[in-house]
């Protein structure tokens, strides 16, 4: 039997931080500063961007579209997924389209998005919402469909109504799937908002990336990338923790 992972001592992540940043600094200094920047330079740029308020403003804009879009994706995606799972015919008919849209890279459909939703907040919201919603509902539907047949039978034997079946069996059983959908959806959402900000109206953190790139200021670009990475890591880690809570729900079988 194998050991489970134990909690980290603070030392390890700290050590790896030192190693990674040290290596980055060394490599960063040896590369043309128009193309890449060492962490010291990124930190300096970060300070500058913070002072000018540019980074904070950009982050606000990004977070607004991201959170609203993701929130909508969650409140639409979960019921939609439940409906798709509980009404298999409905789900089966919709599924191919959702998979098709989900596997279509947004970077190539950006011009179509402009035509349909414009270049502003609504378009970014759509880029965040739609792909994220698909991830969440497809996973939810899968969870509902994979409800343990023995438990469905138990509830049936005690004459649970359709609603009671959903409340006591289908939804709790689907939760681990929903959470994993939430995580994939979060990743989709973050990438979506950045795509929107880089290729539609140039604003937010994605805009900072684009500007940094056209102005040949890699440190500026890396600042934005770092903020996105940290933001994303926080969201994903939070969802991970959430997911572990429901591990026991999968139950013994």
């Amino acid at each position: 039997m194998m050991k489970t992972l134990s909690r980290p001592s603070v030392l390890l992540p700290l050590l790896s931080l030192v190693v990674v940043f040290g290596a980055w600094e060394l490599v960063g200094r040896s590369i043309n500063p128009l193309l890449f920047a060492p962490p010291s330079e990124v930190a300096r740029q970060f300070g500058e961007l913070m002072r000018s308020g540019e980074l904070l403003d950009a982050t606000k804009i990004t977070v607004q579209a991201l959170f609203l879009g993701y929130f909508l994706a969650v409140i639409v995606g979960i019921p939609f997924g439940i409906a798709m799972g509980a009404l298999p015919r409905f789900g089966d008919i919709l599924q191919p389209y959702l998979y098709a849209i989900f596997s279509t890279p947004r970077v190539v459909v950006v011009p179509l998005i402009v035509v349909w939703f414009g270049i502003g907040f609504e378009a970014r919201l759509f880029l965040v919402f739609f792909w994220s919603m698909i991830a969440i509902s497809v996973n939810t539907a899968q969870g509902v469909r994979h409800a343990r047949p023995d438990l469905v039978e138990v509830a049936h034997s005690f004459q649970a109504s359709r609603l009671q079946m959903a409340r006591h069996v289908l939804i709790p059983g689907a939760i681990p799937f929903v959470v994993s959908g939430l995580r994939i959806g979060a990743e989709r959402a973050i990438v979506g908002v950045i795509i929107g900000e880089m290729f539609l109206q140039i604003v937010g953190l994605g805009g900072v990336i684009t500007k940094g790139s056209t102005e040949l200021l890699p440190a500026k670009m890396l600042c934005a990338v770092a903020v996105i990475a940290v933001l994303g890591t926080i969201i994903v880690t939070a969802l991970d923790t959430f997911e572990k809570r429901f591990q026991v729900w999968k139950g013994p079988t």
Binding site: G118, I119, T214
Partner: protein
């Protein structure tokens, strides 16, 4: 007059294949005919300057403002030829906007900050007596296609796109109109250049001269031969439409896009005007002297050899 480039290897970075940039394509074909081993790289989102700095290409055939950006950041790149010698942008508006003045209180889309066309648009607005940002809202939007889509969707009332893009757009029935060509609105500016680091030029004189020669020759070929040009475009540009290409040709001739005289091909005053404009607009930190990075040596030499007369 013939060049023998056998044994010469070169990587050239270009923009995406477009009708207006066919000169570069044809130029590379000539180099190959002369025995050079040319790798052509279409760079969609990365500037030629970045690719040169990263040591991934030898020569770029891209927007001329990249040279200025390079110069101001200490990268000594030099223009020695030009596939497109006049401004290649069209200003497009929604119906009802019939002049720049009509844009008061409206929104326009330009590329991101630091972009070429954004700066031009600001300049034009100033010329027309409007104050950018105050009288007109300026929305930065990614690429030319996205800007075109923005105007179709009615999100903005005007934008700048490539001339060939505009013509294709019109051919596809877009509900938009031409406000004018930037070449007419702001004459004298140069739009696309062939450039490379100064020391590369010195070390590869034969190749560079051959490129200058091919540049002049191709321009001569274009000017003398509409049908061949259209046919060539149809063969080489994906999705090209014959009527649009034909219309483009007429516009190109009208604004003298492909000159054969060395001093028209590379115009220092155009570059200087561009540099001054960019400095005035805050895009450049320093005032630049264009004569320092526009090098006529090779086009002059090529012209002396008889290039640009259609003889090759």
């Amino acid at each position: 007059k013939e060049f023998d480039l056998s044994g010469t290897e070169v990587t050239i970075g270009t923009a995406q294949a477009q009708v207006l940039n066919l000169g570069t394509l044809r130029m590379i074909e000539m180099l190959t005919e002369w025995g050079a081993d040319v790798t052509r790289v279409e760079l969609p989102n990365i500037s030629g300057l970045e690719a040169i700095v990263a040591d991934r290409i030898d020569i770029a055939s891209r927007s001329s403002d990249e040279i200025l950006a390079g110069q101001s950041r200490g990268v000594d790149v030099v223009a020695f030829a030009a596939p497109i010698s006049t401004m290649h942008y069209a200003v497009v508006s929604t119906p009802g906007i019939d002049s720049l003045e009509d844009l008061r209180g409206q929104s326009i889309a330009t590329s991101g900050p630091g972009g070429f066309n954004g700066m031009l648009f600001r300049y034009m607005l100033t010329q027309a007596g409007l104050e950018p940002e105050v009288d007109v809202a300026i929305v930065p939007v990614g690429g030319s296609s996205e800007r075109a889509a923005a105007i179709m969707a009615g999100q903005v009332q005007a934008t700048v796109v490539f001339i060939d893009n505009w013509l294709a757009l019109r051919e596809q029935g877009a509900n938009a109109q031409l406000l004018g060509y930037v070449a007419d609105l702001v004459p004298g500016l140069s739009s696309r250049a062939v450039f490379a680091p100064r020391d590369y030029l010195a070390a590869n004189e034969d190749l560079v001269t051959a490129i200058a020669c091919a540049n002049l020759e191709v321009n001569a070929w274009i000017n003398s031969n509409k049908d061949d040009f259209v046919a060539y475009a149809m063969d080489n540009v994906r999705g090209a439409n014959e009527d649009a290409v034909s219309a483009f040709y007429d516009v190109a001739m009208e604004i003298n896009m492909f000159p054969t005289a060395p001093r028209e091909l590379l115009d220092v005053s155009g570059y200087q005007a561009l540099a001054d404009l960019m400095y005035a607009g805050g895009e450049l930190d320093d005032q630049l002297d264009a004569s320092g990075f526009v090098d006529f040596t090779y086009v002059d030499r090529a012209a002396e050899m008889g290039c640009g007369t259609g003889a090759m």
